[in-house]
């Protein structure tokens, strides 16, 4: 009669949300940006997205098979990395850039450091910066069928003005996923509503960037100039999808505000004083490196602990 039943330590119930759900939510939230990218740049963009995602996922699979580790591609984290990398590539890159980027992101930035949750740098941006440095001309070649001119940020940098309306909609040149502010915000709202991300990092990032740009930028608080800077380049994609990456942002609440402000500061410096027009990727990977320090400084005080006199 007395069958032995399962016992375990408390708690005996679990929430419904799993890592897979979170990753799938991010994939879903990126679909508008992907869709617009394909619409904007043509079918070639679709191929770049597919090749990058496939190479990221396959790298993880082969690495795990080779090392006889449990296969974790089912958690969709490699898909997210591949998607984010693809959205940060110009549409004109040759196919092998996608493959090299996907492999670098997963193998070097993620798996070699211990896989999911262990990487100190956002894999997609790590790979993007690697590609930018190694294949600068290919990665900054924005010539394509749809557009021939420079990116709006490059225009701004050279002192010209950009059409803000087009930039918000996304009718401009740039990497596949970064052009449409509306598509990115749409995806970000989906994540915000689901509670997958919050506004702490993106909010403090954007606000501090705008304040710095207004106070010390070449155009002051010029509405068109500031909106062009927000809509242009990887700002939106970076703030809502890359800077909010769980693994590489501080886990403490105060740390997230500090991190956002550091990103704002770095982006401002890179964009205004740097040699290239774009600065979000570098700002975020440098911010990533500061995360352990930020977490240490902003360790929360436990409930009821009194400040030492």
């Amino acid at each position: 009669m007395n069958t032995i039943r399962k016992v375990s330590s408390t708690p005996h119930v679990r929430g419904k949300v799993t890592t897979n759900h979170l990753m799938l939510a991010v994939v879903t939230a990126l679909l508008p940006a992907c869709g617009y990218g394909i619409y904007n740049f043509g079918n070639r963009a679709l191929w770049i997205i597919l090749i990058t995602v496939a190479s990221a996922v396959l790298t993880e699979l082969f690495y795990e098979l080779l090392c006889k580790r449990p296969v974790t591609i089912g958690d969709f984290s490699a898909v997210v990395t591949g998607l984010l990398l693809a959205l940060n590539l110009p549409v004109s890159v040759p196919w092998w850039i996608c493959v090299v980027g996907g492999i670098f992101a997963i193998l070097v930035v993620k798996m070699l450091f211990g896989g999911l949750g262990q990487n100190f740098m956002n894999p997609a941006f790590g790979a993007r910066c690697f590609l930018l440095i190694s294949f600068t001309s290919l990665m900054t070649n924005f010539e394509c069928d749809a557009y021939t001119g420079p990116t709006p940020l490059a225009l701004l940098k050279s002192g010209e003005t950009a059409n803000v309306y087009d930039m918000i909609l996304g009718r401009c040149n740039g990497t596949i996923g970064e052009t449409s502010m509306i598509a990115i915000i749409l995806g970000a709202c989906f994540l915000l509503l689901l509670g997958v991300i919050d506004l702490r990092v993106p909010g403090s990032y954007i606000v501090s960037f705008v304040i710095l740009l207004g106070m010390f930028g070449p155009a002051g608080f010029d509405f068109n100039y500031i909106v062009a800077h927000l809509a242009g380049g990887g700002m939106m994609l970076g703030a809502f999808f890359m800077a909010t990456d769980y693994v590489t942002r501080p886990v403490t609440v105060n740390g997230q505000y500090v991190y956002g402000m550091i990103l704002g500061l770095l982006t401002f410096f890179f964009r205004i004083y740097g040699s290239s027009a774009e600065g979000v990727s570098y700002a975020i990977i440098i911010g990533n490196l500061l995360v352990p320090l930020i977490e240490k400084i902003t360790r929360p005080r436990a409930f009821g602990i009194r400040r030492k006199m």
Partner: protein
């Protein structure tokens, strides 16, 4: 009325609808009753009887084994069969008094206490002590010790914990619906110990009917207030509750009395009323038998010492084979591997589930999402603490306030990677507490 609450916490599936509307049923034990000598925090009780002795209902069978300890009274009449090692819900073997029930329920002569107004502070506390009352919410801290604060005039709030924030549990709810006067009387007894205190009935807003009921009943009681709490787990945890009611913060090194509070569970308050007004010791409690594996979930008034198998029988037995049985609520209760266990003073429920959610999913890598930090009522970093525990880094564990953990389990509940956060932290805390004692 505004809803008070604390920062953090979770809102798990409540499951209370299974047994919420089932009136309390009395059940009498069929077989032997078992009284573990250690069913409270503190020193084990010392037996006053030996095998072969005849005992009566309400007779004290074990004496408190120290200041922080509680006595035990028999709930039936019969013969002491043995004093032997018996298994309890934690899985430990504990020395226990086994009483053979003669089904006569011969009562010990009960001396009715004098009216409350005539009793001195010491007399009231003695009644509570002699009744063997302990915190019946789960912790089992002897109530007479809790009420013996050094400076009683400094206590400003006597909080009755009617939150019942654990999923599935409805025993306190039924108490409130069916015997509200006993709770109010019990609170009056406790208030008589603290001249400057206000009595607060803290109730979660998923029990709106109780809030209304108590407001109506306490209209003419200037010293008793009803406080509406947000429905959230662990609203009933002592420190979270004190914060919700008074906005005073407390860490693990201080006691509620340090911020002018005394907190007692609703069921404990009823036991106090029984002891001081009616002179009856703690002999029974209300247990919720519920879960999707139980045929007729309900609330039962159970003689302490009754075997769990009898309780399950009383609730119609199993509808389907349970995969997991929990003594207590699913957040903080004990998983039990057999049902041949005695009901103790702190047993609030038996939750029988057909599916064990814990073994369903394997833990995966931490993705640093920060959900555990958000829900932690102690505002800790469970991800880091769990890591320190696994690596046995004592210094870091203490630096990150590991000892402030209240073991509520919110972090494990919410973790998307299903990591054993609370479990790791709990083991480490046990180790560190053990070290401190040496």
């Amino acid at each position: 009325m505004t809803r008070s609450t604390f920062v953090g916490g979770i809102h798990p599936y409540e499951g209370k609808e299974l047994s919420k509307d089932k009136p309390i049923q009395d059940i009498l034990p069929k077989n032997d009753l078992v009284y573990p000598l250690s069913q409270h925090i503190g020193a084990p009780a010392v037996p006053l009887v030996k095998p072969g002795d005849k005992v009566l209902v309400g007779q004290k069978i074990a004496e408190a084994g120290g200041f922080v300890s509680a006595c035990i009274c028999s709930a039936v009449s019969g013969t002491v069969k043995a004093i032997e090692q018996r298994r309890v819900v934690t899985g430990d073997m504990v020395s226990s008094i086994v009483i053979e029930n003669d089904h006569q329920y011969e009562e010990k002569e009960i001396e009715k206490p004098r009216p409350l107004e005539d009793l001195s502070r010491e007399e009231i506390i003695t009644y509570i002590k002699e009744a063997g009352i302990v915190g019946m919410g789960g912790a089992g801290f002897p109530t007479h010790v809790k009420l013996s604060v050094k400076e009683p005039e400094k206590i400003e709030y006597v909080i009755v914990n009617c939150a019942e924030c654990e999923p599935y549990l409805t025993s306190d709810y039924r108490r409130m619906v069916e015997e509200p006067d006993k709770i109010i009387q019990g609170l009056q007894v406790v208030l008589s110990l603290f001249p400057n205190a206000k009595g607060i009935l803290a109730i979660e807003d998923n029990k709106q009917d109780c809030i209304e009921l108590f407001k109506e009943k306490t209209v003419d009681e200037p010293r008793i207030l009803v406080k509406k709490l947000k429905t959230k787990y662990p609203q009933g945890a002592e420190r979270s509750l004190i914060y919700a009611v008074t906005k005073r913060k407390l860490d693990s090194t201080r006691l509620p009395a340090d911020v002018g509070c005394v907190v007692n569970n609703a069921d404990t308050i009823v036991a106090v009323c029984q002891a001081v007004i009616h002179g009856r010791p703690l002999m029974e409690r209300i247990v919720t038998i519920t879960g999707d594996a139980i045929k007729e979930p309900g609330n039962f008034r159970v003689k302490i010492g009754t075997n769990y198998s009898e309780l399950i029988e009383a609730a119609g037995g199993f509808k389907s084979e349970p995969e997991k049985i929990i003594s207590g609520g699913p957040m903080m209760g004990f998983g039990i591997f057999e049902t041949d266990l005695p009901t103790t003073k702190t047993a609030s429920a038996l939750v029988c589930l057909t599916r064990d959610e814990v073994s369903l999913l394997e833990p995966t890598a931490c993705i640093n999402c920060g959900r555990c930090l958000e829900v932690c009522p102690a505002r800790l970093m469970p991800n880091k603490l769990s890591d320190f525990s696994a690596k046995h880094k004592e210094e870091e564990f203490l630096n990150y306030y590991g000892m402030e953990c209240v073991e509520c389990g919110c972090c494990s509940y919410v973790c998307p990677a299903k990591r054993y956060l609370a479990q790791n932290i709990k083991s480490m805390r046990k180790l560190m507490l053990g070290k401190k004692k040496k």
